[in-house]
């Protein structure tokens, strides 16, 4: 079992006051709250900070922890000394949401399951009927999956109750239907697939947040899909018929005459399907042919001679 340096996790000195600890906790909790944070490991850090605070905010638990000595390093192999908690009585602190089963083995070895659930899940004491925690996970899909629908297998680490009623971490694999028409950032709620409840509590729900794999060609906004389409200057000016890729296959489209860079051409209803059908937009980008040969240079010079064109006319006062 790894030793956990709660002071280091909280970023405070060992002699920090209770107020300093509280402030540090509030700051870290805001930083790593999974609903807010963009940090990739936010959920893990948030739990770690919650565990550290559960110990350090409680003077009795803190004194007992300090008694282990200051020479331990975080991550060091640790076994609690026998009778280490003799003479301490851990009373539960104020109700706090952290469920016991989410704390580390290290915490459990020191304060035990009972110590944890007592302090941190007020409801569980009242007859042990508690609805399980909701779980959250992210599913990354391809844009094509949103067009066609798909299924995805996901593996979740969850706490489940063993036959003896003890929470255990188990890996669970689920096969989930990705409905056609799903959009980036939407959530699929799978009722009762979350964490196990206690007693009559029933399990929580599982929320899956949909994210799209960044696509080499398209970018997506809501139900609309955008393609940046490079065209040659003469295609933009004279108009052209070009073949373009779409997530449902290649189609031919007309570039109207005098299309300037940035012009958006809408292909109605070719975005992501769904109740509100999205559109497909082609954004014109003008690509300049390189002047890498004498012939190409001559062609540019001819153009310069033939056209009286001042691209900066509007800058002159």
């Amino acid at each position: 079992m790894e030793f956990k340096d709660y002071y280091k996790i909280m970023g405070v000195e060992r002699d920090a006051s209770q107020d300093q600890i509280k402030r540090a906790y509030r700051k870290l909790a805001r930083k790593y709250h999974p609903d807010i944070s963009k940090e990739p490991d936010a959920e893990v850090r948030f739990k770690e900070v919650g565990e550290a605070y559960a110990v350090l905010k409680d003077p009795e638990k803190r004194v007992a922890y300090d008694q282990l000595g200051a020479n331990w390093q975080g991550g060091q192999d640790f076994h609690p000394p026998p009778d280490w908690d003799q003479g301490f009585e851990f009373r539960g602190g104020d109700a706090n949401h952290f469920d016991a089963e989410q704390f580390s083995d290290f915490f459990e070895s020191l304060y035990g399951q009972a110590g944890a659930s007592q302090g941190f899940e007020g409801q569980s004491r009242r007859g042990f009927n508690m609805r399980g925690e909701d779980s959250h996970a992210k599913i990354v899909i391809d844009l094509e999956d949103a067009y066609n629908g798909a299924s995805r297998t996901i593996t979740l680490k969850q706490t489940v109750l063993s036959a003896e009623g003890r929470p255990e971490i188990k890996e669970r694999t689920l096969n989930v239907k990705i409905p056609k028409g799903i959009r980036q950032g939407q959530h699929i709620r799978l009722a009762k697939q979350g964490g196990a409840g206690m007693g009559q509590g029933g399990p929580g729900d599982l929320y899956l947040k949909i994210e799209f794999q960044p696509h080499a060609l398209y970018h997506v906004e809501g139900g609309d899909v955008y393609l940046d389409l490079p065209v040659a200057p003469w295609e933009a000016v004279l108009g052209a018929k070009v073949k373009i890729p779409t997530p449902t296959g290649t189609i031919e489209m007309t570039i109207p005459e005098n299309s300037s860079a940035g012009r958006k051409l809408r292909l109605k209803g070719r975005g992501i399907p769904g109740k509100q059908l999205g559109d497909f937009y082609v954004v014109i980008q003008i690509a300049l042919p390189p002047a890498d040969s004498d012939a190409a240079k001559a062609a540019y010079r001819n153009m310069e001679k033939a056209l009286t064109f001042n691209p900066r006319a509007h800058l002159e006062g």
């Binding site: 709250h33 609903d35 188990k170 689920l174 989930v176 409905p179 939407q186 709620r189």
Partner: protein, 108 residues
């Protein structure tokens, strides 16, 4: 977990896709008493259709917004008005991040 469960295809509700919820259903899903939901409605964080509370119909996204408010209160001690503000700022931030990502991709 039986083997059968592992293999069967689970179908869920997409919260954002027009799912309509009554006040009672929203309370159940969010694990919150009706009074708390009413407070959140009064703050303008979720906007049900229908006049009287017993006729309220909530959009599926309300689940996420209500949960956010409850989590903020429980974990960070933020009150309802503060959560409403945080929610709006986060949504704006998300829009800006998306925009930035798109502009970044096009300037490489």
């Amino acid at each position: 977990m039986t083997n059968k469960n592992l293999l069967s295809l689970l179908t869920g509700d997409v919260l954002e896709e027009g799912e309509r919820l009554t006040l009672v259903e929203l309370c159940q899903i969010c694990n919150a008493p009706a009074e708390r939901i009413i407070e959140i409605v009064e703050e303008g964080i979720v906007e049900p259709s229908g006049e009287a509370a017993e006729n309220w119909q909530f959009h599926g996204v309300s689940v996420r917004r209500v949960r956010f408010v409850l989590n903020m209160e429980r974990d960070l001690g933020v009150n309802t008005a503060g959560s409403a503000l945080a929610l709006e700022l986060l949504e704006e931030l998300e829009g800006l991040r998306k925009r930035l990502r798109y502009l970044g991709e096009n300037n490489d």
